[in-house]
Symmetry: C2
Subunit: 504 residues, 2 copies
Amino acid sequence: MLFLKVKYLDLDLETNAIIINEEDLKGTAYYPHDRVLVETSGGSFIGTLYSTKTMVSPGEVGFSKTIMPMPLKEGEEVRIRHAQKPSSLNYIKKKMEGQTLKPHEIHTIVDEIVSKKLSNIELTAFVVSNYINGMETNEIVEMTKRMADTGEKLEWENSPIVDVHSIGGVPGNKYALLTIPIVASAGIIIPKTSSRAITSAAGTADIVEVLANVNLNAEEIKRVVKATNGCLVWGGAVNLAPADDIIINVERPLAIDPKPQLLASVMAKKIATGINYTVIDIPIGPGVKIKNEKEGNQLARKFIELGDLLGIRVECVLTYGGQPIGRAIGPALEAREALMALTDFKSAPNSLIEKSTSLAGVLLELGGAAQPGKGNKLAWEILSSGKALEKFNEIITEQGGKETKPDEIEVGNFSADIISPDNGYITYISNKLITNVAKEAGAPKDKKAGILLHAKVGDKVDKGEVLYTIYSSSEERLNAAVNLARRTYPVKVEGMLLKRISKF
Amino acid sequence: MLFLKVKYLDLDLETNAIIINEEDLKGTAYYPHDRVLVETSGGSFIGTLYSTKTMVSPGEVGFSKTIMPMPLKEGEEVRIRHAQKPSSLNYIKKKMEGQTLKPHEIHTIVDEIVSKKLSNIELTAFVVSNYINGMETNEIVEMTKRMADTGEKLEWENSPIVDVHSIGGVPGNKYALLTIPIVASAGIIIPKTSSRAITSAAGTADIVEVLANVNLNAEEIKRVVKATNGCLVWGGAVNLAPADDIIINVERPLAIDPKPQLLASVMAKKIATGINYTVIDIPIGPGVKIKNEKEGNQLARKFIELGDLLGIRVECVLTYGGQPIGRAIGPALEAREALMALTDFKSAPNSLIEKSTSLAGVLLELGGAAQPGKGNKLAWEILSSGKALEKFNEIITEQGGKETKPDEIEVGNFSADIISPDNGYITYISNKLITNVAKEAGAPKDKKAGILLHAKVGDKVDKGEVLYTIYSSSEERLNAAVNLARRTYPVKVEGMLLKRISKF
């Protein structure tokens, strides 16, 4: 046990960081990153130990002024000892050993993730074990249910409640701004919660935020949906299945998304949102999460099976993810393109219109507004009649925005054209590299930053013709983005003659 | 990219922590724990991003005053962008996928571990993948060699150089204080480096430190070995195979020790110490690393195979690890018990004498001082003749200590007896629980703290008879240890009749 006197620090990097001079740790059984119990006159709490040379003197223990769990007097003596390891650790080890976890074991892991009892090391061990050893369907069901139960839930008086969800990975994927109003204007309830950009240049929530408020709480969501049948809000403002947001912090640095985790996190949010039917969009292609149709089919079957066990009807669609959807990438540019499509579909890229109406078609059939096989036609009718635009404006207005025309949306003042170095055809647009350029220009934080593609895969271009324009609110960032574009070639132009092989 | 002004902080929790106000991160693609590149007028460096509410204001970036890699002016503007992921990450992912790593891939991982380029999340992913997917012999060979090559090395003019190593887990395991002088006094060179306690109540280095200096650098080790043929020093003072010390930081919280890692870390230290022959002690029993003989045999074969490939002759001995070795646990108590054994072996516990002479016997045979099968007898002769004590005193003196009699060693002023609650037999002593009590009393930092067992497994005890005595330099800690002992029962006393089953 260590006996030390309290000192307050201006430190808020981590909840319950416990800072001790390295001299006090020498030769003890206490090491940095140990989980320790701090016993004080007013009770005890658990934290993580760190060592310092300078922040506190020997004999002192430093706590954060801002995030201390209980009031303590500066100079008061506290006792520090090893804390019990969290119960999850035994179950995480079982998963490492390749064993199947019991429901109560999975519940404990999810509970301790949500209450932030697990360190990054323990969380990583869980995620990597799932990645390697996988999970049985039953384990995924239990994880999904518990993830939903450990957060807020939306409840609805009517049914069915439908939903559409993309597992992501394709830039420019602004389909929801068309699909939701099409479905809602057919009288079907579709409360759409979206994420902000995680690794992309614009999440659906970032795009909608150009036109309206997306930070709605549960009450406000219900009001908007009651008034319009739909909504387009940020899921993060309501605390739906929060375990996911914690797990993602260790998945991102490793660039892994274990299938059990992916399935559970999508379906847990569905349960928490209270929906009955959902369509899941699985983009397929190089540079997105799912590389080919076979993998897409497997994942789709898993989603459907899981839906059955959880009482949610799931349909999956595999969609083309080989290049960006539409021509715009970045919040304001994407909002503008979506509004153009709603206002006059002939002025908008086919890929966007087709994806949006296809998804809407499936939802219209699921929701009972169209006969099987007739959904897509109805979706086109609703879009081309102007009803979808009307509904979109209703939703935007209910969310505190106002009706806007496409050319009223401002994009970055600074722009630069990237031109074709040769005559030829566009053979490839890299989802990842084009996203990086848009992010370098400032997206998604700079809402006016992004990219407008002037040509897409298969298009013929001449030398000197503009391939795409980069926009930014900052000249400095625009230059950085142009430099990145010149170094990495996100859009590839090649002649029809790709390689010439001759005898000599 | 982020543009921020430098502010210095008194912060030394982590190398290259980069502290940014959370307002500046909102809506960007930068997240806490991201690896970022800081570009300054004087060059660039890589660090880990953290967010704060209070430590720096929006527009500022905080760096540690003490561990900044380059001089920067307060207020200077720097640019921050995502850093390239370390090359290791791809190889760690290969290991997650169950693939075999190529030599250069393993070298990169070890190099980036040693140069601290990997985060805890990445390190954990590596360790957990090794734990689950294992490594082929060839991978372990490459890892071992690289671990040895990335640290300091001891070189010797003569040969053979012998060594003994225990993989640990048994309390009271002070055999080296007898084995080393026995072997050295037969003219065999045995430069023994030991660890301090990791999870135990006393490492060999902690025990020897009661009598002499153990923090010797490479030069000093050579001088002591030249004068005496042996030494008993702390390996941590020389930088031997330092990757191990970094990896252990993520293994400890998970309480895992993947076999490939265990094998590589032991053998890498052997290569770095420049030894030719080693005996590896593998304690077997409940509550130690290796649970049964079968597992022990497997590990032994692996060590021998690896030794062959690395040019080190390895012999393994499986030893009884079911209860503490000898009766003393804790640095001063163990030093005293070892000195008693060296001075008059009849006054010391059989388990200690037998283990020490058995290991010395194997080493004497390996080193050519005894015919095969005659080593143990020679070890006994050297011990009982007083030559081992003489050699021990030589080594201690060369390491800056002085000849000491067992009863001159001070133990804690405060002590308490734990008595038997019943008539019966000692059926079990928990290695783990008895260690916890010794640590609660202050061991290993309080060198005078620890436990003296008055009875061991199989001994008959009467109600009220003393089972063991706890020592401490602090009354407060003694009380804490007594409380822990009363709660957890590390020594179990049972009647011969364990359970009575009757018809009604």
